[in-house]
Symmetry: C2
Subunit: 606 residues, 2 copies
Amino acid sequence: MDERELWQELGQQLRVDAVRASAKAGSGHPTSSMSAADLAAVLLAGHLRYDFDAPDDPRNDRLVFSKGHASPLVYGLFRAAGVLSEEEFGTYRQLGSRLQGHPTPVLPWVDVATGSLGQGLPIGVGMAIAGKVLTRLPFRVWVICGDSELAEGSMWEAAEHASFYELSSLTAIVDVNRLGQRGETMHGWDLASYTRRFEAFGWNAIEIDGHDVGEIDAAYRAAEASEKPTAIVARTVKGKGYSAVENENGWHGKPVDVAAVEELGGSRNLTVEVAKPEAGEPHVFEAVGSDPPRYELGSKVSTRKAYGEALAALGGVDPKVVVLDGEVSNSTFAELFKDAHPERFLEMYIAEQQLVAAAVGLHVLGWKPYCSTFAAFLSRAYDFVRMAVVSRATVRLCGSHAGVSIGEDGPSQMGLEDLAMFRALNGSTVLYPCDGNQTAALVRAMADLEGISYLRTTRGDTEVVYDADEEFPVGGSKTLREGHDVALVAAGITLHEALAAAETLADEGVEARVVDCYSVKPIDGATLADLRLPIVTVEDHRPEGGLGEAVLAALAEHGVSTPVTRLAVRELPGSGKPAELLAAARIDAAHIAEAARAAVRVAAGV
Amino acid sequence: MDERELWQELGQQLRVDAVRASAKAGSGHPTSSMSAADLAAVLLAGHLRYDFDAPDDPRNDRLVFSKGHASPLVYGLFRAAGVLSEEEFGTYRQLGSRLQGHPTPVLPWVDVATGSLGQGLPIGVGMAIAGKVLTRLPFRVWVICGDSELAEGSMWEAAEHASFYELSSLTAIVDVNRLGQRGETMHGWDLASYTRRFEAFGWNAIEIDGHDVGEIDAAYRAAEASEKPTAIVARTVKGKGYSAVENENGWHGKPVDVAAVEELGGSRNLTVEVAKPEAGEPHVFEAVGSDPPRYELGSKVSTRKAYGEALAALGGVDPKVVVLDGEVSNSTFAELFKDAHPERFLEMYIAEQQLVAAAVGLHVLGWKPYCSTFAAFLSRAYDFVRMAVVSRATVRLCGSHAGVSIGEDGPSQMGLEDLAMFRALNGSTVLYPCDGNQTAALVRAMADLEGISYLRTTRGDTEVVYDADEEFPVGGSKTLREGHDVALVAAGITLHEALAAAETLADEGVEARVVDCYSVKPIDGATLADLRLPIVTVEDHRPEGGLGEAVLAALAEHGVSTPVTRLAVRELPGSGKPAELLAAARIDAAHIAEAARAAVRVAAGV
């Protein structure tokens, strides 16, 4: 069999396998797999350089299925590569199978979970950036995209960044099968509409017949030779190879009759020898050493500044740390890392989706990304963070300018839902420091956490209340003041308000314990359960899903019943001075004291 | 003073005002206002058709500052239009002032809040769609954009949709002042990089000197005459007019010295006669009448299908209802509305940010938008929903395919954080029906709610447990089964599991009360507080921020202490059959019964 025949046969095998897998499962997307089968076949057999026995090898090419619903095609490729048995192939979409409905890294050859469209290409950008400026190896990044998903703005964030970073190693293979889920896409088979857009964004763009293996091969060669990122825009037929469904609407996400197997020429068992990656050694940055920042007790510094200083110091001792910015590094203070380690600082401009996606891509290549922007603007990337969880990615996020305490800029800039957003993610860690030393310790701790970790920082300066040598275990809390009448549970900016309230209360003979829940998730349930006091929680966040509800959940899980008053931002704030806005939201010292007095009165039965 | 002189003078006045306002406030973005001042001056004095005495007049042009940080310019325009007194102008950024740090609709001439970049243009697309296909009036939509924000993918979603819908009334005025917050943008003053992109997306694009009032006027005339949406890409100078800061980095978001006023020729008090809108009557659709769907007790229907059927019926009686789809209308069943009312159905393709932004734009024009996609994919638009809250917009969202109960498609498609996400928004309503009749009633109820309302629907068929005439007030609950040993609190899919668990328990002599909290927010705290029973909550959602924590919060607010066991999805799910996944997540009938038995044992002190 010559090369072309092999590719054609492999394409048919992949189609047959997509039909078989989804027919057996009773669900899945065979038609979306069949359109891309030839594109995938030529890639696997003719161009991909990948050691299936060593998927973590940083020299490997990366293959991302941005159109994750073509999972039967992904798994068919693995079968053709000889790493997936026929038996396991038959478990597609079954409980406990590694062959889930959309690809996830439960399989070692899948780098990232896809299935939320428009994410694979921006993640691929992160991988290609890693290859070019960090790992410095000549691997290629191949991303198989759907045509429908080009409606997602995130794809154009990726196009922009790929061009800006001159990622010649990146190839987007666009499977233009014309049909979305419920009908035709905006552009149908108007391939030029796509190439025009990619070219305008600075890409090399090639139109081909996506079922002509010769044209596909030539396009891949052109991509390999290109000095720009390349988009291969391939005209394909959804359901290709089975005449009953070819190019017909209404067959998205539906198994087709196994009669298709016969029309496709029956089952095949080709195994392909996939090329090995190019030799090379990954670049390693030097640990230049550095001293972590230390802040004097009683001095003032913002936690956002401490974040930047701690990050810059961390970069000196951990050469894997990379920092990504959403064009606000002078506000988040990520710029301090840039000053110290410019080679490991990546400017992602105002494109938060690409910011997080790039971090996921860097994670795949073994880097330790920290991303920062305003807490409010991380909401722009929530779907990307959600999918990063499914990808089992380890990504560190820092949101600055949290809460009403930012002041004059007003509600559009106030992160007030971020704790809820990040707590709700599987396996996430949510940290909210109140002073410089605590921030520095938590920034260091994040380096060793797995999964998604989130650090919330505050705009204004706050007093340093902890010694520089204090330790802050994730999942812990600190009792900053003893007291046996009421417990004030706070974190971040409100910790300082709680301390002030406790002072006021002490003058009145009410002894308030002050607990710093800097680890919002996991929260220190044991300490909270042991309080045995009326509790007032206070947070510069909405009342739902934040610190207050975390405390309630912890108490419930420990089977402890105690009255809890929750202070939080219950109205839509406006602009004003930070202190005015804390007061208006009823989360300042005066309102905490008022709530504590009421709690003490109720407890005393007055 | 001739026209050109007036425009130039007005430009200078707007600069002076930006300097004055931010200097007095001690914060703000004068330099970003100064770059766009001439663009704004010519627009206000020469092209905008807007009745400042009747801002809600649907015939008015709409003016959106996508670069919301240029708020001193926005307020300066209102002063120049004679609707903002000098006294109020001096309250910029003060507590209680209508002149917030970024524009919000607290001011009647501001349609939508901006300040999260990349949102104004997609919202403008919604307004222009309303003008073209719904309201059918020849108003124009002028959106003043920053250059930095063109890095946001949402801007290209807007570009794509404006082109697809042939929105000739839409003009994007891009203020290319070259400098972002922390340095130069990707493209600096390379205007062609922007025009090339817009043209590739099917726009008319014009490069101009953004400080030459003649060129600006000519460009606006060209936009008015264009049959395509027009992007005016204007080369401007940040801080223009004050030599100490002109085109200098480091002046973003900082007041400048009032010496600038002198260099700008001193304060001015020009008032501009703004042109009135073109006459015309807004189109009104006919209420054709329809019968709401009714489902027989004991029959089976999915709540997603009931959503579609109820929506189609609602469209027949409420001609203001418009439905927007994220290219999944055959899954959400929004297609039933399309079949019934094709003129009020808008396909937004796979672009969830544009989906929600368009709804906000439609809201401004008085329409009643319902948007639907998979619950998981609404996370893509979270920042847009967050900002819609700041905009005081009324937008109805429906997320289908919630939870592990979707089955085989796997975690990328499972909305598991949506309740947390939507509960955390100020003034939001979160509804989660369990059967067809309840869904139909809640879909109707949403039509009259203000703010953001969210309906969560389920993929699989569920039994109809309510009569078609049953009423479901927002904020209420239903007790579906009496019992005095334990209370099972559920909603949606888990309500059926709870009912099954109660059957099992009854066989064992344990009488479980079953409470349907279909209104997750506001939740029926009074009923929950009156239970006086051990409670088991169960939700097909993550344990954080959802039903369980809502119940805990309600109990705490009512000062009620009772043991609460929360069942929720605590691990990362995979693929499988719906029943298998409910069991694996420990939220099926068997696990509810187990938790209820344990709760009863603890309560009995066994």
